[in-house]
Symmetry: C2
Subunit: 222 residues, 2 copies
C-alpha cells in the first residue's frame, strides 16, 4: 500500500487501485503501471490469494499488501500477465476475485496476458481487447475479440499489449482519472522519453528471425 | 535470484548481475532493468543490507535474495535511485559495498539518481554520467561530470536518465553482454515499442508549466 495504514483505514473518498499478484506474474507487468499510478494522489494495494511473498516469473519476490478477503473496494483493478497466467486461469478463487471486482470497478486494466485472465474469468467475453502479440490467437479462443493495438479500450475494460505496454496504458489511465496535466507530470517525473537502442519492439518491426524465434518458443499455439 | 539455488551454488561460469535495493528505492528503477537482464541466460540477485523486505518509495515491498556479506561475486552491479538515495548516500555500509563491488565488476550501471550513490561512493568522481534531469546539478556537486544523454557510458560505468531510462540502458547492456540478437529478442518479448500518450518525457519536450512544477517540488537545488 502506498500509505502506511492498514486496509481498514483506507479513506473512502480516495481512488483505490488494486494490482493483482500471483505466482509467475511478470514483474514489469505489475511494476510498470504501479510506478505510474502510485504517483497519483490515490491509494494502491497489491492483492494476492494470501499475503505470503509472491515469486514473479524470473524469481523476484514481492509482498502483497492484502489478500482477496482483506482487499478494500477497488475503483480500478489492474490484472498483469506472465507465464503464471496459465495457472491463474485454472485458479477458481483468483477467477472469482477478478469476476467479482470487475463487476463493481470503474476500470479493469489488463496488461499483456492479463487479458487472458479477465477473459477466462468472464468479463471480457465478446469484448475488444489487446494482449501480448504472441497471445492474440489464444485471446480469441478464450472468447474475446483480439485487436492489435498497444492500448485498447472497450467500455470500462482497458487492455494493453505485452509487458512494457502497461506503462503507456497507465499514463492513459492516469489522464482519465486525474487529467492530462497529472499524467504529463508523472511522465516527466519518470523521464519517459523512450529511446530503445533497437527497432525490435513489435512483430512488424523486429527482424523476421527474431519474430520466428519467439513464435517457436511461445507457450501459445500460433 | 532467478535460479532457485542458494548463492553458494551460483555457477562461476555464468554472468552474475546484482541489483542493489535500499529503503526508498524507486521500484521501476530496479524492475525495469531487472525485467530486461533477467531474460538473459545469467544469474540475478537482488542485494540489500539485510534480507528483510525493502520498502520502495511508493510502498511496494521487495524481498532481497542476499545481504551484502552473502552476495556472490558480481560481473555487473546495477544501482537504482529514488528518494531513498539521500539516505543511501549517508550509509557507510552501502557506500562501501558499492565501492568494493564497483572495483571488481566489469560494468556498473546506475539508473536515475543511482548515479549520485556511485558518485558519493567514489567510483564516478571525474567521470561523465547522466542521471535524472532534476539531479544533474547535484551530480556535479558530488564530483561527476553530468551529461544530458539518456544512456551514457564512460569506461565501465553505464549511467541512465530518470526511472524509465533504465529499460533502454539495460537493452544496451544486454547487447554488450550477449549480442544484438539477444537484446532484440528481449525487446520483442517485452513488446518494447513505446507509444507514450503525451510528449512530456523530457524537460525539453514537456509543457513548461509541468517542468516548472517538478523543479519547484524537487529535493535537489536547481
Amino acid at each position: 500500500m502506498s500509505m502506511s495504514v492498514p486496509p481498514a483505514a483506507v479513506s473512502p473518498d480516495r481512488v483505490t487501485i488494486g494490482f493483482l499478484a500471483f505466482p509467475g506474474v511478470t514483474a514489469l507487468d505489475l511494476v510498470g503501471p504501479y510506478e505510474v499510478l502510485a504517483r497519483l494522489p490515490i491509494t494502491t494495494v497489491v492483492v494476492a490469494a494470501t499475503r505470503e511473498p509472491v515469486r514473479t516469473d524470473r524469481g523476484l519476490q514481492l509482498i502483497p499488501d492484502v489478500d482477496f478477503d482483506g482487499c478494500p473496494a477497488l475503483d480500478v483493478l489492474v490484472v498483469p500477465g506472465g507465464p503464471g497466467q496459465t495457472q491463474a486461469c485454472q485458479d477458481e478463487a483468483l477467477l472469482s476475485f477478478v469476476r467479482d471486482r470487475s463487476e463493481v470497478a470503474d476500470t479493469v486494466a489488463s496488461i499483456c496476458t492479463g487479458a487472458l485472465i479477465v477473459a477466462t474469468a468472464g468479463p471480457l467475453q465478446g469484448r475488444r481487447a489487446t494482449t501480448h502479440w504472441l497471445a492474440r490467437a489464444e485471446l480469441r479462443r478464450m472468447g474475446a475479440i483480439p485487436v492489435a493495438g498497444r492500448v485498447v479500450r472497450d467500455g470500462k475494460f482497458l487492455s494493453s499489449g505485452g509487458v512494457s505496454a502497461g506503462i503507456d496504458s497507465a499514463l492513459t489511465l492516469a489522464a482519465d482519472l486525474m487529467g492530462p496535466d497529472a499524467a504529463q507530470t508523472i511522465q516527466l517525473s519518470i523521464e519517459y522519453d523512450p529511446a530503445p537502442p533497437f527497432t525490435a519492439g513489435s512483430p512488424t518491426t523486429a527482424p523476421p528471425h527474431i519474430v520466428d524465434r519467439l513464435r517457436a518458443a511461445s507457450r501459445f499455439a500460433q
